[in-house]
């Protein structure tokens, strides 16, 4: 009887650590809500974990009342999130409580080379670690997002031609050889979905879709709180759904993919005659400044993306569609037509209407997803460390 009670206690303890780990930081009241344990149990266990050095607590306020915020103790390590985009690389260092402690953006050339970019990523990590007075020893892992479908088993890009020159590369292997740390690779929209569903706009939903509208378009699918990657990692590759049977040939080899209609080149081309040569960034800025031509291009892109997302929404019936990526910085200019296009096509249910909302984490969603991927993949960072041994001791004392 006492054996089962102590194992129950142990299970509750693990549940609390895991919940704090997932959310980064929670008040004791929120912990009780998230775990379903009683406030008294949570309080007792948090006190024990605090004594064992597994968690830290600090005073905070929630809706005007004082509360105890519980986070994992910082010394358990740092994670690195990297987002390699078409024209930018973004790197963030975060600790286990999802706090970003340092970040840096590096502009990249069109069709940047794999060797140069990964080399620069490795050097940037070292520079950032130095900036926060840390070293590689403290890093528990590196999570990288790339704008292409990734096979989770091998960490390689699973569809040829989408990122020129990156096809035959074992990305994780190249970086882990240099850094001597575990490296996890995933699709960037999947990382965005992971970040938004744990910390951002869709954290309250079990089933959601994250749409990343950028130089290319992609989506990440979260089902029952779990990221759904598909067998070869191509789930949610909405950029390669055919929308125009007579359209241009896409880099993936198909004809008339969504990316050939709303990709950066496709958005810039119709503006060339009236606006001259522009970068995607200029179109976004000018659309926000009220330029009707640029706003029109963004709105039409929203409608085209919405039509494809509607198909995805019919297949997985999410509670929310979260829209991120550079184009989403135009706010309702993109979101309005996108929402309309989805609502026209999906089956309306009476239980809960499908929400189409902007991403909360903005440009950082993918790197934060990278951090999240590391923290999830590292399973329990704590287990190999001092604090857990202390915790096991505390359990034995019971």
């Amino acid at each position: 009887m006492s054996g089962s009670q102590s194992s129950l206690r142990e299970a509750n303890r693990a549940l609390i650590v895991e919940t704090v780990h997932r959310h980064g930081g929670l008040t004791q009241v929120e912990l009780a809500g998230a775990t379903g344990l009683s406030a008294a149990t949570v309080s007792t266990i948090v006190k024990e974990l605090l004594a064992a050095g597994v968690v830290d607590t600090r005073s905070t306020t929630r809706s005007g009342r004082r509360a105890q915020m519980v986070t994992l103790a910082r010394r358990v390590g740092l994670a690195v999130g990297i987002h390699i985009g078409h024209r930018h690389m973004r790197i963030a260092l975060g600790d286990v409580s999802h706090e970003v402690v340092a970040e840096q953006t590096l502009p990249l050339p069109h069709e940047h080379r794999m060797d140069t970019s990964l080399d620069r990523a490795a050097l940037l990590i070292a520079d950032l670690l130095e900036r926060v007075g840390s070293s590689l020893d403290e890093v528990v892992g590196v999570g990288i997002g790339v704008p292409a479908p990734v096979d989770a088993a091998t960490g390689m890009i699973s569809v040829r031609g989408i990122m020129r020159g990156w096809d035959e590369v074992h990305i994780a292997h190249v970086l882990s050889k240099r850094l001597a740390r575990p490296v996890f690779v995933d699709n960037d929209a999947n990382l965005g979905a992971l970040a938004e569903s744990t910390l951002g706009a869709s954290r309250g939903y079990r089933d959601s879709v994250y749409v990343r509208a950028s130089y290319g378009t992609g989506a990440g699918i979260v089902l029952s709180g779990q990221l759904h990657r598909g067998f070869a990692g191509t789930a949610g590759e909405i950029g390669h759904v055919q929308v125009d049977p007579q359209g241009d040939i896409c880099r993936c080899g198909s004809r008339g993919c969504l990316d050939t209609v709303v990709g950066a080149q496709a958005l810039l081309e119709p503006l060339r005659a009236s606006h001259g040569t522009m970068a995607l960034r200029d179109v976004i800025q000018r659309a926000l400044d009220g330029d009707p031509g640029c706003a029109r291009v963004i709105a039409d892109a929203g409608a085209s993306i919405g039509a494809v997302v509607a198909g995805l929404a019919m297949a997985v019936n999410p509670q929310a569609v979260v829209v991120g990526g550079e184009l989403a910085e135009t706010g309702e200019l993109l979101l309005g037509p996108l929402r309309e296009a989805i609502r026209h096509r999906v089956l309306l249910n009476q239980i809960a209407p499908l929400e189409v909302v902007p991403a909360e984490l903005g440009q950082r969603a993918e790197v934060i997803g990278g951090l999240e991927l590391v923290l999830q993949s590292t399973d329990f960072v704590l287990r190999q460390d001092e604090p857990v041994r202390a915790m096991a001791g505390a359990v034995g004392d019971d």
């Binding site: 502009p107 050339p109 069109h110 520079d127 060339r272 970068a279 960034r281 200029d282």
Partner: protein, 260 residues
């Protein structure tokens, strides 16, 4: 294309410069529009720095036309260039290590309240510029000797913004910087462009050049050898133009085909 109908901020036409028997520049054309980064690339001795010196008023061309906003000008001295709205950051930065960030930004152009230096106003202006560029510099009172190489480069760039220039010339801004510092400087270049300035970027690093520029102008032996749209041009085609594997006429044909 409307870009050709817009008046360029700076237009150099048929610029030639000779040092004795050395033909440094022969009939070079370069145009820079507002809100545009134009990269000048080429081998050593291709004439990049000579062209930068002509634009910043250090050297006078033997022949050729310099137009600013469509009006013909001569640039007889660096201070004339400054009056015309052209600011230059040379490779050696020309900063004073013993002075603080504010003093360096205003070096030689100090604000006065008639008699005395107006420190308050200068500090405020310096802060504003650092904020505009989102520079990561702790305080405007830090002596320059305490800053990293990347931060110094940033101060040198910030300094060009005094007197609200419209054209900024950067000579090898990322040489000798770490990757994180390069990242910062490239981000500042993007910011300068977004502020609506015309930027001329001279660099050997093809990766940096292709990352931030809109147009890449290749010089070879003092002559134009191709102009590329940076958002589509491949690494190989630019290198081919630099090394002379392709010539201007071939590059023009390809350019015309891509514009069609």
């Amino acid at each position: 294309m409307s870009a050709s109908t817009r008046v360029p901020l700076l237009s150099l036409q048929q610029i030639s410069k000779r040092f004795g028997a050395v033909e440094a520049l022969v009939g070079v054309d370069v145009e820079v529009h507002a809100h545009e980064v134009v990269a000048l690339v080429g081998d050593n001795g291709a004439g990049k720095s000579t062209l930068a010196k002509i634009i910043s008023g250090v050297l006078a061309p033997d022949s050729g036309i310099i137009e600013i906003d469509g009006e013909e000008h001569t640039i007889p001295s660096p201070s004339a260039a400054h009056t015309l709205g052209i600011a230059t950051v040379f490779q050696d930065l020309a900063l004073a290590g013993n002075l603080d960030v504010t003093s360096n930004i205003f070096l030689g152009r100090e604000l006065t309240d008639g008699v005395l230096l107006d420190d308050g106003r200068m500090e405020q202006a310096a802060r504003q510029i650092l904020r505009d560029l989102t520079l990561r510099i702790p305080s405007v009172r830090t002596p320059l000797s305490e800053l990293s190489a990347g931060q110094r480069q940033a101060v040198a760039i910030a300094r060009t913004l005094i007197g609200s220039p419209r054209i900024v010339v950067l000579d090898e801004p990322t040489a000798a910087l770490s990757v994180a510092q390069t990242a910062e400087v490239l981000t500042y270049i993007e910011r300068l462009r977004d502020l609506g300035l015309g930027v001329i970027l001279i660099s050997h690093n093809m990766n940096d050049v292709r990352a931030v520029s809109d147009k890449i102008v290749v010089l070879r032996h003092g002559r134009n050898n191709g102009s590329f749209d940076a958002s589509t041009a491949s690494y190989e085609s630019i290198l081919a133009a630099i090394t002379g594997a392709t010539t201007l006429s071939e590059n023009l044909l390809r350019h015309a085909a891509s514009m069609r």
